[in-house]
């Protein structure tokens, strides 16, 4: 089994869903757990069988994302790290934008170092869908190389994803990132356009906290 942290606590999600959608979710979870259906089958239909919309917790979480992450977490109790990554890769590859986003959120809840979903994160970072870009820069982005991670941060600035979506920003920001954001800001100023507040936040990180350990080599 592989541990997947839920996006929202199970009880909170059910409160948000209400009775019938909660029953539908529990039904899907039971079938997935019993092996009478596959994740591939339940995943696309998960939102329309339950609900979709903002959860309203101020973190921008969405109900349908939490539903899908819970489905993955249940399936993962029967899957080793390698099989789980294979399953997530297929769900992502064949998913619509909502399904892809849910897979990225599931990855954000997987700490097991044997699950490396960086190829999926890089695919998401190639898109211009802001929700995919944001979801790719969660905790699982610790698997990205320093180079790819910096470009992920820059892409967030560029497409307007708030840097609050970037996990470990303060501990991982390095001089190279600050230099890149500096050049981005220069370009904006040269074009007579405002420099986003988030860019200023990164620029203020030019003297990294010496007690923080930079995870990349």
């Amino acid at each position: 089994m592989t541990d997947v942290r839920l996006l929202l606590p199970a009880a909170d999600l059910r409160t948000a869903l209400g009775a019938d959608p909660s029953a539908a979710l529990d039904d899907m979870l039971a079938s997935v757990a019993a092996g009478t259906t596959t994740l591939a089958r339940t995943f696309p239909a998960a939102a329309r069988r339950t609900a979709r919309g903002p959860f309203g917790d101020g973190d921008g979480h969405r109900i349908e994302d939490a539903v899908r992450v819970e489905l993955i977490a249940t399936a993962a109790t029967d899957l080793g790290p390698e099989a789980l990554l294979d399953e997530l890769t297929l769900l992502y590859r064949h998913g619509d934008a909502d399904e892809k986003r849910a897979v990225l959120h599931a990855l954000a809840g997987i700490d097991d170092p044997r699950v490396d979903g960086s190829a999926l994160l890089l695919d998401a970072l190639r898109t211009n869908d802001v929700r995919l870009v944001a979801a790719a820069m969660g905790p699982h982005a610790s698997r990205l190389s320093a180079h790819d991670w910096r470009h992920g941060v820059l892409k967030c600035l560029f497409v307007g994803v708030p840097l609050s979506a970037v996990a470990d920003l303060r501990t991982r920001a390095d001089d190279e990132l600050v230099a890149m954001v500096g050049r981005f800001s220069d370009e904006r100023r040269a074009a007579g356009r405002p420099v986003p507040d988030d860019a200023r936040t990164v620029l203020a990180m030019s003297a990294p906290d010496p007690t923080a350990t930079a995870p990349e080599g």
Partner: protein, 290 residues
């Protein structure tokens, strides 16, 4: 005025079109899977296209306040190409998705055997997935193609109310109407159907089971011809309610049969797809807009 364009190929249109459509009242569209204007050479070309229909195009439309749905199929123009028929084996993956509101465009282009086989298999998929079917009628020999289309629809056992036969004209509307299928009309700048002829057909047979679309794509076409037709209806004495029936309630009723429409406030009562915002930022051209 609210408009639902039930057949438009937005992948080949610009953001200027999305802006103009929204200004004209278009709030929802269905984009049927079709060919690219030149032949595809492999199955991967289809899946990348389908992925865009359920991904990027949906996102792009939402940025302009328009809800995007799609239909998925092997189209008639490529159904006789052995390099492409393998796509029939991957359709099921897409037919279970939210926002996929029909199997289509299916039907005939040049009426060959391979086309007929693909048409049959895909009508069966529509039945299996409880989805409506969107059927294209050929530009050459439209009457013959429509007659054979209706035979295959009957053979398949699909409920005629789950079928729209598209690109109709004065000569083909009758048999489709008799069979109980929905009738689709594509309004073009210079061929097929124009707004005045469309109004006459509506005067002749009423608004029931009629869908009016622009079928706009990369060819000479105009995504605002739905609005022009609506205005022509009003000028001819139709009421606002008649216009709303044809331009909004009919497509909602037809595609609503899929249970997959993504319109705000429908189905589960939750706040559905929020338009184009990420935590309150409206994002256009990849950058926040003040």
């Amino acid at each position: 005025m609210r408009i639902f364009d039930p057949h438009i190929h937005m992948t080949s249109r610009t953001t200027d079109d999305y802006e103009r459509m929204h200004a004209a009242g278009v709030r929802a569209v269905v984009e049927p899977a079709f060919w690219l204007g030149q032949p595809r050479t492999n199955v991967g070309s289809f899946t990348d296209y389908f992925d865009a229909l359920v991904g990027w195009e949906r996102f792009r439309a939402a940025q302009f306040g328009i809800t995007h749905h799609c239909t998925i199929a092997l189209n008639p123009k490529e159904a006789n190409d052995p390099r492409c028929v393998g796509v029939l084996d991957v359709l099921e993956r897409y037919l279970g998705k939210d926002g996929v509101v029909a199997v289509g465009e299916i039907g005939f282009d040049s009426m060959g055997e391979a086309e007929e086989e693909a048409f049959r298999r895909q009508l069966a998929l529509a039945v299996e997935f409880a989805l409506p079917a969107m059927v294209h009628t050929p530009h050459r020999d439209k009457e013959g193609g429509t007659a054979r289309t209706l035979e295959l629809v009957e053979e398949s056992g699909i409920d005629p109310g789950m079928v729209v036969v598209d690109h109709l004209n004065e000569l083909t509307v009758g048999p489709v109407d008799e069979r109980g299928c929905w009738m689709g009309f594509s309004i073009y700048p210079d061929t097929k159907m124009d707004p005045q002829r469309m109004v006459r057909i509506l005067q002749d047979r009423g608004t029931e089971r009629v869908l009016v679309n622009s079928a706009a794509d990369w060819g000479r076409s105009d995504p605002l011809l739905t609005r022009v037709t609506a205005d022509a209806m009003l000028a001819a004495g139709f009421s606002d309610d008649d216009v709303d029936t044809v331009m909004w309630r009919n497509p909602v009723e037809f595609f609503g049969q899929s249970g997959r429409l993504l319109l705000d406030g429908e189905s589960d009562g939750a706040d559905l797809r929020s338009p184009a915002t990420f935590e309150g930022n409206s994002v256009l051209r990849g950058e926040p807009v003040a």
